[in-house]
């Protein structure tokens, strides 16, 4: 094979050589042309979620329950249900997540997202220790959401709330994980 190739190359005259190199360059050029023509749309296609929101929902205040049901000093978990657009789907009433509600005074409620700011596990309340505990990497927070120990880079995410006619409303938000600042995703 090796010798054959050399023989053919030797036989090639000068104009033949330039024709050969023209063909080689042109073949490579066509290859790159097709490559670019396909790659460009593919990048647009794959990176579409960077251009447009594909998953979103529940942007307004969402009803999560009645203030009468949040009694005493212990936090109470409430499920956030609202509309959601998920790719091609539209859900009118679907679970988006959960919040911890703490009563503060007659007509005031504090809400913490149950998502751990570290890596997104669901934070639990330990009644015995009176602390919030993340079951994944043992971040521990006090009842005000401040980090007591563990890897969480920031305190628990407090969400805007209001109370109207006894109904608790929460503005549910998802925030970027692993960052010491609150950044909406």
């Amino acid at each position: 094979m090796e010798t054959k190739t050399i023989q053919t190359k030797k036989r090639a005259t000068k104009p033949d050589q330039s024709k050969r190199s023209f063909m080689a360059v042109f073949a490579c050029f066509i290859g790159s042309l097709i490559g670019i023509a396909v790659t460009f749309p593919i990048i647009g296609f794959l990176f579409h979620p960077l251009r447009k929101k594909t998953v979103y929902g529940g942007l307004d205040f969402i009803k999560v329950g009645n203030i009468k049901d949040v009694k005493g000093s212990a936090p109470r978990k409430a499920v956030i249900k609202s509309f959601k657009t998920d790719g091609w789907n539209r859900f009118d009433n679907i679970i988006l997540g959960a919040v911890w509600l703490i009563r503060e005074g007659d007509n005031k409620i504090i809400a913490f997202s149950s998502v751990c700011p570290h890596l997104g596990c669901g934070i639990d309340w330990s009644q015995k220790k009176e602390q919030f505990v993340c079951p994944c990497h043992a971040s521990i927070f006090d009842i005000n959401g401040h980090v007591l120990s563990g890897p969480s880079p920031r305190q628990m995410d407090r969400l805007d709330t209001k109370v109207e006619n006894g109904e608790i409303l929460v503005k549910y938000r998802k925030l970027r994980l692993g960052s010491s600042n609150r950044i909406e995703v």
Binding site: M1, R20, M23, A24, G31, P41, G44, F45, G87
Partner: protein
Amino acid sequence: MKLLITPNDIHKWINDRTGIDDIADKMFNEPIPGGSKWLYGLGSSLLFVISLQIVTGIILSTYYSPSTTDAWGSVYFIQEQVTFGWFIRGLHSIGSSTLVVLCGMHLFQVFIFGAYKKPRELNWITGTIMMFVIVGFGLTGYLLPWDQKGYWATRVATGIMGTSPIIGEYLQTVIQGGSDYGNFTLTRFSTIHTIILPGALTTFIIIHLYLFRRNGITPSCKIGNEELKGKTEMFWPNQAFKDAVIALSIFVIMVSIVFWKHGTELQAPADPSSNYIARPEWYFRFLFELLKHFEGKLEIVGTIVIPTIGALFLFAIPFLDFKESRLISDRKPFIATLSTVICAIITLTTISFLTDMNDPQIVKQREKSEKEASTAKRLAAKGIPPEGGLAVLENDPLFAGNKLFMEKCSVCHRVNGKGEAKSLDLTDYNSREWLFCFFKNPDDPKYFGNTTINIMQPVDLPDKKIYDIVEFLVDQTGNAENVDQAAVKRGMNLAILDDDQQCLYCHSFKGQGQQLAPDLTGYGSDRWLKEFIKDPGSPRFYGQMNKMPAFKDKLSDSQIENVVTFLQSLSKK
């Protein structure tokens, strides 16, 4: 000391460990006896389009979801929402047709060259297997969007499978993943299309290429060996250049078609209740036409027996035409047989398309399904309910309005015989006929008869004049066609401008008159109806006479708009 690592160093490092230069040398420096030829590009172009299919297929699978509730939605999303989605999907779709065309051309060229003769029988057989694999891609891929077209065509295909003797029923159940079409049909078709067939195709491509390189290219049989050797060229760059030009031409044609059709069509979501006229993809049309000519017990001849004989014949060609000579003149019977088969395929395909084109019912149904497809896509833009693609109809304001009306309004109002007759019957609401009869007898049970409202007096005028007033009101709705402006003027004179101004004793119009009964400014228009439904007890409408609940807190604005859409549709029936 050298600090910088040059590309040459990296190349050398890799080559020392992999021998990549030898591999490249073997791949590219293949001598082609007799020189490079444009016709040899057919095989390479197949490889090119297959690569395109693999790339676009993988990319599409990042959005596609194989389930009966999600498949249509995800394909809709690719087609209509994702950046360049229509392009990638269109390229993949036209790619399948291109593959079938190139396969046919490659097969025909190999056949004419007699390139299947000893020692190349297995080249032919692996090639034929790959052709069936490609057809399998087409068959399974057609169903994946779960639209009307794919759903019904594939039902026919699996139905045919079910009629095959002995194993048919079992085979069909296994392929479908159940006794009927469902989620498992899609998961299975998707697995076959994206894992099993690509695996099979890749394996056979490797074998085919290995055999091709082992047995070499089949040069023209008319030239002597010495002459062939003298004309030898290398694959790189002579043949590669020709292959590249062919690939580019094919690509340009494919892309042009994709732009021209803006991707590829997506029909309405699969509807098992519809009477969609099932038609397979064009390359199966000859089989479809064939089966029409065999009825009853003979059907199996058209669906299974003849196609099987055809397939076996293809595989057997190298063994039937086994003599050494590759000259066409020495192989007349075989050339004649294959040419006949090709002519038959072309004829059957043409007949099939011509029959459809000349059947007014099919043409009409096509138009209807086009309309349904665009409606479904328009409604899907609002998001597809979790019940799946077919549920997009619930996004239709008319559909949603009808549903809301039945839930909220039919406890008092009646439409087309449905609902309670406690208040106005809204059948044909605000049509000319409805308004005319109302003026004749407002206290009819169809109108205010069953309500506590009784202040409206029958209009004591000749019918012609009543129709003029009707025309005036119809004009106010902004919802009627062919409004007679002269009649409107006469009607307005009678109702509003005359010395009498009888209507304005109770009604108001543009600030004039009384507020005892509903305002006639823009009567029955979208805005009027919306505000009325929100608060019918407002002084603008029925004031203290009103018994209808206000819906401003019971229904959202968009819900009320849907009800209005429904009400406005009633006059048009």
